[in-house]
Symmetry: C2
Amino acid sequence: MLDQSGLEILDRDECLALLATAAVGRIVFTTRGLPAVEPVKFLCRRGALWFPARAQTDLFGAARDGVVAFEADEFDAVLETGWWVSVLGRADAATDCDLPSRLPDLSWGDLHGDLRCVRIPIEVVSGRRVTR
Amino acid sequence: MLDQSGLEILDRDECLALLATAAVGRIVFTTRGLPAVEPVKFLCRRGALWFPARAQTDLFGAARDGVVAFEADEFDAVLETGWWVSVLGRADAATDCDLPSRLPDLSWGDLHGDLRCVRIPIEVVSGRRVTR
C-alpha cells in the first residue's frame, strides 16, 4: 500500500524486523516546551526499545515518564532507496532491565556516570520504504 | 570541550560545516500534542535549512509556522565514531525559495503532489562528536 507521497507503507511486522537490524536511533522528546532530539544506541526486544540514558540529563528527564517518539532509518544516497520507522510510546525508567551487561556496547562516551535504562513499549509504530 | 558524557561539544561553525555534508535529516515536530519525527532530504544555505513538504501533511502543518527541531548525524558502526547536530528554529513556508528547481533531487516519491518549500532558520544549533 502506498501513502499520498507514493511511498510504500510498512506493516508492523516489517517495521519490527527493520528495527532489529538498526543499532542507532533517535529519541524525540519535549524539554521546556520545545522539541528535542538525541541519537542513542538501542536494543529492540520483548516488544520494546531499550536504551541507556544518563541521570540528570534532559533526555532522561523526559524519558523517565513521558510519551516519546523514536526513529530509526537507513538510506542509500546513491541508489535513492531506504526506509524509516517511527515508534510512539510512553517511556519509563526500567527496573527489570537486562541492559547493564550490555552497557559497554550501548554507551557513547564515559561509562562512569549515573547510567539508567529506559524502555519504550512499541505502542504505535509506522514506517515507509523508499524505492526508485 | 567535553560534555558530561565525555563527548566533544561542537561549536556553531563545526556544526554548520557538518550539516553541509549531509543530505538527509529528520524534522522533529509536535502533532496533536504528541512528538513526531520524519526524515527529509534538505539543503543548508543562507543560514537556514530548506526542505520540501507536501501540503495537507502533519509535517507541513507543523512546519509552516511553528518551532521545530532538526537533526542530522552520521555514525560508523564499526569504528564507533560519528557526529550529530541538532537545530531548533521557527519554521515557515518559504516564498522566496530556490528549491523548486531542486525538487526532483529533494523529493522522495511522487513529485506531482502539492509540494511546498519549508525553511528553518538556524537559530539554536548544537552538536557532538563521538570518538573512541
